[in-house]
Symmetry: C2
């Protein structure tokens, strides 16, 4: 909708590809998707899809090729270390149809990090990249992330993934931030839902999400409004607050 | 590999589809994927892919139709409540090419839960299902999950999603459990990686994952072995323990 207005900039869309058997086996709880979602939202980008795939080349290639044509940017996490199960670089190269080459700048960084005497084939492997890729800075260890086309290739270790995300986003122009408002109450969602549907129709320019949760076993409801026009958001919040009060509830507001 | 042996049962594969704008916007940290991964692993199923899509009918239909042909089962979470943004049922029906109908049993459960006088159109909406679907028990609230073809449709609220997962899995025959062994040490991954690659080749029947992490800023490494043959797992663990010791480390073992 925003992009229909010629005065508004295009809103960049993003897809995330989480790579790793450990997430699918339940051994590791992925935290990178939530980290990316928060950073991308703050940057004014729209995260439109995420996928988690195993350490299998064909699966990575297929998912990446599906995602990189539908999103402005793709961020991948995982699989860029020195071990046998780190196959992201060769998989991304295969997806782009380019060979894997050694990046001199990446090699230099690894030598600076480990020291020349301690370099071994495994460490040197972390200087490999799809041909045409450039480096994403990694302030924590010597192995950089990579950027090729519209794809940002990042580590799976959460602290490193976050540092690389911040480095990658610094290099991109801001998108269009959405403003957000939340009303929380203890009225049952199913009591409000019919009237809420009418309000959602009246405020078609506002994305209204209705999220019930159990808090200590008691039902609680968050109505989350998102939009780019603050006046419309406030008007929507007023309508929803009135709806909550009409059902005997008291809305608690938070500006997020 | 397991399925190549005619004496071994087929190992069921599973794909997960998380449905919800709130996960993509960063507002909600999804916990259902990790819950499902853990339950599916314990059941002896293999989680082969997960996707997160927004509350957009076309996105849900496309993802579901891609996943339900490649996995034995698909589990979806989110979007089955009473509000305007709950569009999973109509989307699943569209994916299967069937109409949405009211399930008498679901309606009876909702009436029993809310009381006849408190039924309203929104609550009645939660009795809708793709034609041909059956009910997944929801012990926490009146609104059931749904099962159609190889797809299990569950709530997004974590406690309800977990109860529905357990109910759905109880109705399915067990898969083939993988055994798992982990060695943790403080040797740098990049020091072990070259020899680890050789061991991984020697133990091609064992899935060896190498997971570095930072613990209070200090690098730590978990080598996770998974396989269906306990003797081979033990032999692999012995080889990896020797490798860790050869680099001056001391492996800590856990049977998970």
């Amino acid at each position: 909708m925003l992009s229909e207005n010629p005065q508004m900039p295009m809103v960049p869309s993003v897809a995330v590809l989480v790579i790793g058997n450990e997430v699918l086996s339940g051994r590791t709880k992925d935290v990178n998707l939530a980290m990316l979602a928060t950073h991308l939202f703050a940057k004014g980008f729209r995260l439109i899809e995420a996928r988690v795939v195993p350490d299998v080349k064909e699966a990575i290639v297929e998912a990446l090729n599906a995602l990189r044509v539908r999103a402005t940017y793709v961020f991948t996490t995982g699989g860029i270390g020195p071990t046998h199960d780190d196959i992201t670089v060769e998989s991304v190269a295969a997806a782009f149809g380019v060979p894997v080459v050694e990046l001199p700048e990446a090699f230099a960084r690894l030598v600076a990090h480990y020291g020349e005497a301690a370099m071994n084939p495994a460490r040197r492997r972390m200087a490999l990249a799809p041909r045409g890729a450039t480096i994403i800075d990694n302030p924590l260890t010597g192995a950089p992330g990579l950027h090729i086309g519209n794809v940002f290739i990042m580590a799976g270790v959460p602290a490193i993934a976050q540092a690389m995300t911040e480095a990658a986003l610094r290099g991109l122009p801001d998108g269009v931030p959405l403003h957000s408002l939340t009303l929380t109450c203890t009225v049952l969602e199913s009591l409000l839902a019919d009237e809420l549907r009418v309000i959602a129709r009246d405020f078609a320019d506002i994305d209204i999400g209705s999220y019930p949760h159990l808090r200590d076993g008691q039902p609680s409801l968050s109505l989350v409004m998102k939009g780019d026009n603050c006046a419309r958001l406030e008007a929507c919040a007023e309508a929803l607050a009135a709806l909550i009060r009409a059902h005997g509830g008291e809305p608690a507001r938070s500006d997020a």
